[in-house]
């Protein structure tokens, strides 16, 4: 496993949409390096014949009956919105330069 550097963390932070200062990037790179080296042994635990488990208990997905139920009103749904207008969530420009 290669060492985790600042540039990698910067990329991850961009993917995760978390702005980080240079200082933070350097610190998290060091922490991540420690964590990843501590957990790296999991990749040696199982052979290829061991199936992966994504869910603790076997369950089939089910769909509810197609009946009208209680839902939030538009007003309730917007109750905690940082910004709203005409019953909708209001956000800044979605595309760069527009």
């Amino acid at each position: 496993m290669s060492a985790i550097n600042r540039e990698q963390v910067a990329h991850l932070a961009e993917l995760a949409r978390i702005e980080m200062t240079d200082e933070e990037l350097a610190r998290v790179a060091g922490e991540l390096e420690l964590i990843v080296s501590s957990v790296a042994s999991v990749s040696e635990a199982a052979g290829p014949d061991v199936p992966a488990t994504s869910h603790p208990l076997p369950l089939q997905n089910v769909f509810r009956d197609d009946v009208v139920g209680e839902t939030l009103t538009q007003e309730e749904a917007l109750l905690n919105a940082p910004d709203g207008q005409d019953g909708k969530f209001r956000v800044p420009a979605i595309l760069d330069g527009e």
Binding site: I18, E19, I35, P92, A93
Partner: protein, 533 residues
């Protein structure tokens, strides 16, 4: 110490309410008064992150509504109405579970001021059971931590020693129960967040079988691991609360269809004479010895001896793959965290920070998440993003899921030999607030969950109960029972059985060895006078 309302167990209080000896409104008022006396006042009125000079177990007190519900229960009882068993018994709710009419923050700046427009299913069930909700309890931000130090609103303190952590993430619920602020509380357990706080505060905590209690309206941390469960001072009380909140919920697609129940009955059976006779108890060899504090080990062995003398059959079981469990857990958990927390982007709810100028939405998201999340949450999101990245996915997330299979196989083999498994709940007693430098070694904090994590990976039920005090520091030690999936009744039977044996040995419940409640209150004032911590 004279017996006061707040020292009653939930079962005892329920009986006194039913007989009319005590009114619910008096019980609720007594608990609210005690919260007022022990939870402290803000150290800095402008900066909530410093917490209070007291326990700081509650982030929100639901005074008016709790008293109103209590009055309604008293009236209903006076009118001869048939009421649920715990009607009028107060309860606290971890601030990760949404409650209509009260704020829900997940102890994060991201959700400061958030008011849920709906109730979580477990909240709804508490209301249906007519239990007054005293308020919302503190936790590590978004339930990420083992000490409650990661709360954006200051740490909760341990009632046994105010300079110590109360465990985490559910330190608020455990401390509140331990300090008699409430007889019951709800917690959530993703890797030990109900059980490890129970262990270090000398209380009882149960992580039910995955899917047996609804997660609808519980702020998701790691969806394949999260489970809601009860916190209490007695095993029977935990069973009673579990019966109130458990059961199938069409609103949670991972909810088990099985009926729940029989837990209180199992607890009573376990506590009865001969209740442990013939029970096969498997000692998990991998969860003892190295890395476990001497006093923890000593109390654990003492419990084994008591069980043996009561007619339980003690066997040793091997779980060789547990050595990979912690690593697998941190990869799976952080991966699910990175996905679940993507919704906090400042668009539909939560904090929005708009940088100067005319920023794009991506800039707004980046700034909002930078300001809204604390260091530990960011660390886990970044780790999860890494584990799920192209090129690393198979080595990390894929391998971790395979380890999950191996851990399940270990449990299956162990349960061939034993009805329940036993281990210490946490490797150490409560440590100092601020005592772990996580930036220097983040793994050190994670090691607190070494004995609790395997059950989350396998989805099986587990219970922690007080096993006594470690001789070296006088702080509580937790004993953990584990059972196969859907066999939650077994942990209640074994837990109540051992609880009775220990109470006989101590001459009463463990908390009697902490000195009286008033003395503890006095200590709060003394600590505050020294500037707190």
């Amino acid at each position: 110490m004279s017996e006061s309302i707040i020292e009653l167990s939930a079962a005892e209080l329920a009986a006194k309410l039913a007989s009319g000896e005590v009114a619910s409104v008096d019980a609720v008022q007594a608990h609210l008064d005690h919260i007022e006396a022990t939870d402290g006042t803000a150290l800095d009125a402008q900066d909530r992150s410093r917490g209070t000079d007291g326990l700081n177990a509650f982030l929100h007190r639901n005074t008016e509504e709790a008293l109103r519900v209590a009055r309604e229960v008293d009236e209903a009882r006076a009118n001869g109405e048939e009421l649920p068993e715990l009607a009028g018994v107060p309860v606290a709710v971890k601030d990760l579970i949404v409650t209509k009419g009260q704020p829900t923050t997940a102890a994060s700046r991201m959700l400061e001021g958030f008011m849920s427009p709906y109730d979580g299913t477990v909240t709804r069930k508490l209301r249906a059971a007519r239990m007054p909700i005293l308020g919302k309890t503190n936790l590590d931000e978004f339930a990420m931590g083992s000490s409650t130090e990661h709360s954006a609103f200051g740490p909760t303190r341990n009632p046994w020693d105010l300079t110590k952590i109360p465990g985490g993430s559910g330190g608020g619920s455990a401390a509140a129960v331990s300090a008699f602020q409430t007889p019951l509380a709800l917690g959530t357990d993703t890797g030990g967040s109900i059980r490890q706080p129970a262990a270090v505060t000398g209380t009882v905590g149960v992580k039910p079988t995955y899917g047996s209690v609804s997660r609808y309206g519980v702020i998701a941390m790691a969806s394949s691991l999260d489970q809601v469960g009860p916190c209490s001072r007695t095993v029977l009380d935990a069973a009673l609360l579990h019966e109130v909140v458990g059961g199938h919920d069409p609103a949670d697609s991972t909810s088990l269809p099985d009926p729940v129940g029989g837990y209180a009955q199992a607890a009573r059976t376990g506590a009865a004479d001969g209740g442990l006779k013939g029970l096969r108890v498997g000692v998990v060899k991998q969860l003892t010895g190295d890395g476990f504090q001497a006093g923890v080990q000593q109390r654990f062995e003492e419990s084994l001896e008591l069980l043996r003398r009561a007619g339980a059959e003690i066997v040793e079981v091997e779980t060789p793959n547990f050595e990979y469990a912690l690593g697998a857990y941190y990869l799976i958990m952080s991966s699910e965290v990175s996905s679940n927390l993507a919704k906090y982007d400042g668009v539909r709810f939560g904090l929005r920070v708009t940088p100067e100028g005319t920023p794009t939405i991506e800039k707004v998201m980046g700034a909002s998440r930078a300001a809204g999340f604390g260091d530990e949450v960011k660390r886990r999101i970044i780790l999860g993003t890494y584990a799920l990245s192209a090129g690393y996915y198979d080595a990390y997330y894929g391998s971790a899921q395979q380890v999950r299979t191996l851990v399940q196989r270990d449990f299956a083999a162990a349960f061939e030999k034993a009805d329940v498994l036993i281990s210490p709940t946490a490797p150490t007693t409560a440590f100092d607030i601020g005592g772990v430098d996580e930036s220097a070694d983040p793994m050190q904090m994670y090691l607190n969950d070494i004995a609790t994590i395997p059950t989350n990976l396998a989805g099986i039920p587990a219970l922690s109960l007080p096993g006594g005090l470690a001789p070296e520091d006088g702080l509580p030690v937790g004993i953990q029972f584990m059972a196969p999936a859907r066999e939650d009744a077994r942990v209640y039977r074994a837990g109540a059985g051992l609880e009775r044996l220990l109470a006989e040995k101590w001459g009463g419940p463990l908390w009697q060895h902490r000195g009286d409640v008033a003395g503890t209150v006095h200590d709060f004032a003394a600590t505050a006078a020294q500037g707190g911590k």
